[in-house]
Amino acid sequence: MRRMMHATISAVLMLVLFVAAVASAQAYNESPTLAAQVAAGELPPIEERLPLEPVVIEPTDEIGIYGGTIISGHAPNDEYLLMLDRAAVETIPNLAKGWEFNEDGTSMTLYLREGLKWSDGVPFTVDDMIFWYEDVALNQEITPNVPQHLQVGGELIEMVKVDDYTVRFDFARPFYAFIHRLDSSGFEGRLAHGWARPAHWFKQFHIDYNPEANELAQERGYDYWYQLFGLYNDYTDITGEEFGRPSFKAWILQDRTPNGNVYVRNPYYFKVDTEGNQLPYIDRLLVTLVESDAETRLIRMLSGEIDFNSWGTSIGDFPTLKRGESAGNYRVWIGRDLWGSAAVFNINQTYDADPVVAEYLQNRTFRQALSLAIDREEINEVVALGQATPRQATFHPDTPGYQEEWGNSHAQYDPAMANQLLDSIGLDQRNSAGWRVTPGGQELTLIIPVADAIPFWIPIVELVRDYWRQVGVRTEMRAMDTGALTQLVAANEAQIFVWVMDNAHPVAAISRHAGFMSPDFWMGPWGVHWATWFQSDGREGIEPPEDVKEIRQLALDLPYVSPEEQVDYLRRIAEFHAENLYMLGTIGMAGKPVLAHVDLGNVREDAIADNADVGGNRNQWMEEFYWKSAEKRGN
């Protein structure tokens, strides 16, 4: 983004200005279909539809040509106040044109783009943000509890309207990572899509603005107004938004059928290319893959039926997809992935059902031995075609201050050393079957429940089971349903819990309190009762040792401290894990196949493939896609 100028006024005062390359409004062009609608008087002219300063995108390869339809594997990307740049490292302006922190980081002013409009042509102003904040996020019927991401250090962020296009956020303590709550670098489930709602449209469903909202909801088959409101308010990136809701997306939902969803270009989209052509280039987007069977998805991709997809693919499918390239008229490559580990063996420190097993799970030498016994290179070859990085469970290498030792700690394959370590902790006796027994004569058996939510979990666990058996530790794998597995873990009944390690990328890790590296993330996979203790303020669960409490405090403070301190905090957290090995990593940054029609232009192969840590597929800027051949543009 060379057209962007970062003006750092001081370490704590930052103003990002977006300089539009196209200053004169006469230079804007639009799709012929929209031009026809303008000529027919159905739409206002392009100058009135674009904001005063549109976002200018420098196309990846070249300026595109309007027209055509793409059949996509996923819904169009959402647009947020801020976003991540192409490298997914820096936060850049989007719906908002810039921001400014005060001197001590306790307040941030955000500047919206004047003239930016919702997809129904109504201007977007600070009032839409205030409506969302006061009447949606803080409305007890829509949102019974105050959302965590609206709080800083337990206190509500204050949102103050300065004027129609300027809003100020006040924090109880310095909060430089706040920009990551606005760039929406992660999906927030159904609740937190953006920091604004089209107030003019949503008010019809809101009881405070429409006394008949309950009757309206009942007509539509709901019991209460907030259920119908919720239909439009919350959605996941999987199912996409409901028909009728104005948005900022490049394509808006036109039709929703059980066969797929149809999106058409948003005439008010706020981005242009460097020659002033309003984006997107492509007229329509069809989404047909959602919620289909994995094999069916694969065969549809192979037959060339899908023009672009980076969602729901698995690296194991890469050879198959590669073989089908010429027949299917597409190209496929392995897109970047940010997960710190594709499968992490979380060793539950508070497991207590079998005291003998629990004692060993809590023994650091035992965990070191288990880690050394894993042949990560082989896992990489077998499961990820050698495309991933064998490593310990730790932050992503892009993390500021990253040290190789974090990823290398006990990550080498050394079964001799593993045997030696196991012998040294009283497991030197073996029974007739060759399994190690405890000094009490009990055969040591580890049980690993595993789900199939991610296709490579079961193959990785099978390999690891065999590695551990080779050093004499009897290990059983139990495949089960994802929901049942998470229940088992939440009940503190799992010894070891296999899951992915997301939130390892710095953008996500800093704003999400270090993710899985913190003891109280989600269910606390490596210390379930410790997490319960933290989450219940000490009323339930088991009190964790001091060093775990310390790590949790660092993780809690991580988003609020200065960038220099963040580097130090991240280092301390990573070193704690490199030493303790509560999480055993396998292979990280495994990649995902991404597929695009050969004729589709401006598709970046170095974009991050479907990764929630940077907002799903948002790193691939689909609005700049275009069809290179006239034939494709014509349909």
Binding site: I142, G221, Y222, T257, N259, V262, T296, A484, V500
Partner: protein
Amino acid sequence: MLDYVVRRFFILIPVFFMISVVSFAIMELPPGDFLTYYVAELRAQGQEVSQELIQALEIRYGLNDPSYTRYFKWITGFVQGDLGLSLRYNRPVSDLIMERVGFTALIAVLTLIFQWVVSVPIGIYSAVRQYSVTDYIATIFGFLGLAIPNFLLALVIMYVSYAHFGHSISGLFAPQFVGEPWSVPKLLSLASNIWVPIVVVGTAGTAGSIRVLRGQILDELGKHYVQTARAKGLSEFIVVWKHMLRVAINPVVSTVGWILPEIFAGDTITGVVLGLPTLGPLLLQALRYQDMYLAGSILMVQTILVVIGTLISDVLLAMVDPRIRYD
């Protein structure tokens, strides 16, 4: 007769009640609830699920209420025609069913026609020409059809279609027709895809019907009325089609009521594999995610159709067969 139908009808009411309790109980059996699965699904994709969203949804859908309260709420709504809300889609269950029931019924009816058109002539032929080469071929075909799981056949057809014709036959029509108004090319595309589920599901049923018909006709072959008919010099065609078939087809007709639920929900696994917009895959998803009102309502409608279908069969049989008594 009317008395019999009315009596049978009143017996249905406690049956429906028991079915509703059992369907609801089955949905409650697995540990956890919808939110457990919803959260796990989102987490597995690396999506964040905040505690407040979980609480919002618990309250919005009354998931914290005891089971009997939820059952009562669901069943009172159900009898008034309100099938409840799907938790996963946050949409009324009736909307979700309505947008899929058309395609489901279309496929099911076409499958049924296919099944009968194929099975009746083959069944008769292989009975009349028992132990002929054709009979053996039909028998082999029948057993294969019964033995091959539908989803496997669907996958094989899809693979062959892709590998040899470069054409994917999943879905009901090519993706470019999604959301387009009906047109000749869209109908052609539908026609080029819809035969797959019809053949796949129909094959299993066809095989069964062939066996039943063949057995029935073989039973009839030696009977006196057949000999009489032949002795009277009637042509073999008339003997078979006019006299024997009317008796032999009885078991096929008496199971006619069972097709009602099939028309409603379609074949689940085939639907999933072929990516069909039918109710089966929706039911499967609902069961997997404990989307209880969606799953419960589909199951309930299906069982009601089974019961009604059985009633229809019984009434038909009672009308056709004078040996059946009405008590």
